[in-house]
């Protein structure tokens, strides 16, 4: 409570140029982007993502890669012929 918000006060925490837990931070970042992080993990990561330059860059990269996969890869739709075949084969089952 006593700690003022970093941006609103003049005592901005120094941005860390080096991260000593890159590998672990990366795992945490992936959990967050996958929607699988706990409140605790979120809180811990939030602090990092405000003060650690390598972590911010890792976050941006992971987010970008996930978006490439989600949005840019073409989704193949099932051919209508196959839908028809499956439906007719099911009907001849019993």
């Amino acid at each position: 409570m006593q700690t003022p918000l970093p941006s609103s006060s003049g005592t901005k925490p120094e941005m860390k140029e080096h991260c000593s837990h890159r590998a672990d931070c990366l795992k945490l970042i992936q959990l967050i982007l996958d929607g699988e992080a706990t409140e605790q993990q979120l809180a811990r990561a939030k602090a990092n993502l405000e003060s650690c330059k390598p972590c911010i860059q890792m976050y941006q990269l992971e987010k970008e890669v996930k978006e490439l996969l989600t949005k840019r890869i073409e989704k193949r739709c099932c051919p209508e012929q196959l839908v028809a075949t499956i439906k007719s084969r099911i009907l001849s089952f019993s």
Partner: protein
């Protein structure tokens, strides 16, 4: 080495604490390794013929595009994807009594498709990289690879890649790594659902996904640098 116990731990994250992601009821996904009896051990539900068709049409068929996309991304071949999807749906109908109406049909179907793929298609897959998962595990399972490996790449370097390039990078990954990325990033399954689809613990889902993404980033980095999106040009 600094560790983050919650991340490293194999203890599944409880739904209560999880942020985001659907939290549906725990669906029943029967265990099996056999292609002939994909749904062994499942309790039988006495559906009438009419109910069977209704479940099939209302709960299974709506996922057919996702299933086809998954099959195509696994086999990387349209004919094989056709066969795989057809086999899966016929199997699903045959074993429909082991499906509990109203539960997670998509995960249930994906699990059957993935088992069919492993049992029937993987051997004859046209995939050029015949990397056995065991080899890959050995290569990437070392403590070093697991804990310290991060790929040196900037977001701006990959942001101009087009879909085909991303797909090619994804396709070049060994199938087990490709699979977790498809399930998580393309189909949006939760870790818990993926664990059930793949028959592996949640901790393994996490670590496999982590390694898969490192591999993918390496491929993307190669692509990006060959396309001239070099770090130096980003200034």
């Amino acid at each position: 080495m600094a560790t983050i116990p919650e991340v490293m731990s194999d203890t599944p994250t409880s739904d209560r604490n999880r942020i985001g992601g659907p939290t549906g009821p725990d669906q029943f996904l029967p265990d099996s390794d056999s292609a002939e009896q994909p749904l062994a051990n499942a309790p039988s539900r006495g559906y009438s013929e009419e109910q069977k068709y209704q479940i099939f049409n209302k709960e299974f068929m709506p996922h057919i595009d996702s299933m086809y996309n998954f099959a195509f991304r696994l086999t990387m071949d349209e004919d094989d994807a056709n066969d795989l999807v057809q086999d899966t749906y016929l199997k699903a109908f045959r074993f429909i009594s082991s499906f509990e109406q109203g539960t997670n049909a998509k995960a249930w179907l994906f699990r059957i498709l993935k088992n069919s793929f492993i049992n029937d298609y993987r051997k004859k897959s046209k995939e050029p990289a015949k990397v056995d998962y065991q080899d890959v595990e050995t290569t990437y399972n070392s403590e070093d690879a697991e804990s310290e490996h991060t790929v040196d790449l900037r977001a701006e370097s990959v942001s101009d890649l087009i879909g085909d390039e991303v797909a090619t990078a994804l396709n070049s990954l060994p199938v087990d790594f490709r699979t977790v990325i498809i399930l998580c990033d393309i189909e949006g399954f939760t870790y818990e659902e993926m664990a059930k689809i793949l028959d592996i613990p949640i901790g393994t889902v996490r670590s496999r996904l982590h390694r898969a993404r490192n591999l993918l980033k390496e491929k993307l980095r190669d692509y990006a640098s060959s396309m001239g999106y070099k770090e130096e040009n980003d200034e």
